[in-house]
Point group: C2
Chain length 174, copies 2
Amino acid sequence: MTPPSAKLTARRKSRPSFAPLTAHEAELAEFFVRMAGILGVPRSVAEIYSLLYAAPAAVDFDQIQGRLGMSKGSVSQGLKFLRDQGMVLSVKAPGSRRERWQPTASLAASLVTLLRSQVLPALEQSSPSLDRIVQGAQDSQASAEVIERLTRLRRWNARALELFPLMLPPPRES
Amino acid sequence: MTPPSAKLTARRKSRPSFAPLTAHEAELAEFFVRMAGILGVPRSVAEIYSLLYAAPAAVDFDQIQGRLGMSKGSVSQGLKFLRDQGMVLSVKAPGSRRERWQPTASLAASLVTLLRSQVLPALEQSSPSLDRIVQGAQDSQASAEVIERLTRLRRWNARALELFPLMLPPPRES
DNA sequence: CTGATGTTTCAATAATTTTTGAACATACGC
DNA sequence: GCGTATGTTCAAAAATTATTGAAACATCAG
């Protein structure tokens, strides 16, 4: 599979053959993958972020694909996700169309954004539901115990809903 | 499929034909399912918990299976999960072998336990990894920027690891 | 003791999620 | 403006995760 001479096959693009991850890079990736897993973020996304996180400089599309050995589709979708979450940003080298990626400043902020994007919609959707449910429990002659439980649930939901926006201002446009 | 008369088929056990969920019960279940989804807890487990949560009294195995329309296997596994997380407990009616289930007192406490069970192992596993990684970055001449990032990551990890045990005493045996 | 009742186990199946790759769009350097 | 380097889309395949159901197991009432 490996061409005898790189020069011969490299007439056109000089496909660079990327280094596999170092042991440390792989270990860091496992860390990010584990943590991401808790929030339901797919492995490929965590791997991409990890690579950028430990990189000495911004990394371009082909390097990501090459070093992680994943498909173009995955890299594209993974970067889209990370971009949408505000976890990475791209810089363009002058005189090249190619984008190069790096993590944004604060991982903490990114995580809050990520959490918010998962939890907030659920909370919002639930608010009217919980109102109806508590109402229903009171109308039917539910036990005091159950009404107490449900009311507490609603209180939590409302409180979380207030609290979340305070944790960080919503991501602004660039 | 439906027998003409329940009495005829019910000679032996009087299979009780369970009521489907009320609208409010279903809505509450959706709430729990959504929230559980964030932590990767399967739908069936959330449904079981929800049923118990809104029930006026402890609920037995067959009722859970019947009202939720799920298999014995799912009910058994779901209860095992909830039991292991300390989210439900069983009471036995006297003179009956059958267990009846109800939610434990504090949902909040249960959630912390659940979170812990997901996050703690990841943190613990990661600790030595991160040490090695930071070490490696320093040994090789990584950029100050990267070393800074990795060091911060390790600090976080360590802090979280200290903090978690404080949030709630580990579940004690009964 | 024993047999029916109540529960667990687990291999097979179903459902869901993730990844791939080839076709399609875009825009930039020339 | 053209042609191609650069990225995106999306349907299909692969991988993962959840559910089922039948058989094994356990336990207690009689």
